[in-house]
């Protein structure tokens, strides 16, 4: 399976992250998104006329939306990561996947303005990003009250993976995550999962690794 990938893209990272959590090997093709705009060149437009990345190619099967890639990887390699059977859980998962598009448009939009000098109304993007973060915080708080950690059900799912990267990188768009304790706990639980991988701006939990300064056992 080939992933057309850009290291700084949170949407590409979603796919890399889920693949890693599932233990699936992806063949990565680096796309020069910035400054090369390679995703707007003919070769990639032939694969994805929308001119966006990531693009996932599995033999002749091509996907161009990251939420669909998460659903595909989960149903093929990790059925536990996608809700199944329970109509409400399935619907909630779809709802969070749709919500993740709002995160991309708002927090992701602010990030593109701040980091890559894209055109956009930074203040409007940031304030609509804060509205989305407040919704997520309230929803995760309600989950905590009933003993839950993740967005849907008892275990992490593609809903969490779809929402996590643009939330974690909100500070890149100068949106602070300080006021959201439930989001902080949720992100920590995701970063503690076995197989978790980093991207620039999202680091692993150092305290889970062996302490390099510890006195060696004698």
């Amino acid at each position: 399976m080939i992933l057309y990938d850009y290291i700084l893209s949170p949407s590409c990272y979603k796919v890399r992250l889920l693949a890693s959590l599932l233990g699936v090997q992806l063949e990565l093709r680096a796309v020069d998104f910035h400054p090369g705009r390679e995703h707007k060149a003919d070769d990639l437009l032939n694969l994805n006329p929308a001119g966006s990345i990531p693009i996932l190619v599995d033999d002749d099967f091509v996907l161009t939306e990251s939420a669909a890639m998460l659903a595909y990887l989960a149903s093929k390699y990790g059925p536990d990561w996608a809700a199944d059977g329970d109509p409400q859980a399935i619907a909630l998962q779809h709802q969070w996947l749709a919500f993740s598009n709002r995160l991309t448009a708002t927090l992701g939009g602010a990030r593109l303005v701040e980091m890559l000098n894209f055109e956009g109304d930074l203040e409007a993007l940031q304030s609509s990003g804060v509205v989305a973060l407040r919704e997520l915080e309230a929803a995760l708080f309600a989950r905590r009250v009933s003993g839950g950690t993740f967005l849907v059900g008892d275990a992490p799912s593609i809903a969490d993976i779809a929402c996590f990267p643009y939330v974690a990188l909100a500070p890149d768009g100068s949106v602070s995550l300080d006021p959201y304790p439930s989001i902080r706990l949720w992100m920590r639980a995701l970063r503690a999962l076995p197989g978790f991988i980093e991207m620039p701006g999202i680091h692993r939990l150092h305290e889970l690794a062996q302490d390099p300064l510890a006195e060696p056992d004698s």
């Binding site: 915080e137 902080r184 680091h203 939990l205 150092h206 305290e207």
Partner: protein, 213 residues
């Protein structure tokens, strides 16, 4: 000599939001702090700035009874003094390198901080426990009037979501305050979520967002 305000307890966070072995950012009147809970469960706080390169220590990590900076790994003890500099493992850091410890204590599931050690413990609300915190871009007066509450020394009492709720406030600026809501300990899970939803509505009203304003 410490100013009067230094020896005053300020509500800064909800205890349950700080797990063992984690660090979180918080605000004191004098600026940002890093609040961290050691593996033992004891709570500590210090300035949110590594004395080495100024990185926020709330981005760091906790191992055992120490807090480490994410940038170059400088490691601080419970007294705020630097214990280890990983790039110079053989060097014993001078005791003058410290990250400015801040007093913290926990009552009713609320974390309180003080720049100097106050003589008296923070105000107690018997039978109440912290629900959640939220940052509101409005003055305490606007927050109080949005919930038709009564305010005494920054503590608002109001009916929210059908429950008698206590709101502690920590003023961050003329139009920004952290609010920590307390509910009777026996409040059901369903009612706690109801009050959380009412707090969201309170915030929208106080900030003048939406049709209610």
């Amino acid at each position: 000599m410490a100013a009067d305000t230094d020896a005053r307890w300020v509500p800064i966070a909800v205890s349950a939001d700080i797990l063992n072995g984690t660090v979180v950012p918080a605000q004191m009147p004098k600026g940002p702090i890093a609040v961290w809970r050691a593996a033992s469960g004891h709570l500590y706080a210090n300035g949110d700035r590594c004395p080495h390169r100024g990185m926020r220590l709330s981005h760091g990590f906790v191992r055992g009874e120490t807090l480490s900076c994410i940038y170059h790994g400088w490691r601080f003890g419970t007294d705020g003094v630097c214990q280890k500099i990983p790039a110079h493992p053989a060097v014993e850091p001078p005791k003058t390198i410290n990250c400015g410890p801040v007093s913290v204590t926990e009552v009713n599931g609320v974390v309180w901080g003080a720049a100097a050690s106050p003589v008296d413990p923070p105000v107690q609300f018997a039978g109440y426990n912290a629900l959640r915190s939220l940052l509101i871009s409005a003055s305490v007066e606007a927050i109080s009037s949005a919930c038709h509450g009564e305010t005494v020394e920054g503590v608002i009492t109001a009916q929210l979501g059908g429950q008698g709720t206590i709101l502690l406030t920590n003023v961050h600026g003329p139009d920004e305050a952290l609010v920590i809501a307390l509910l009777p300990t026996a409040t059901s899970a369903q009612d706690r979520v109801k009050v959380s939803t009412a707090l969201e509505a309170l915030r929208r009203t106080a900030e003048g967002i939406g049709d209610a304003a």
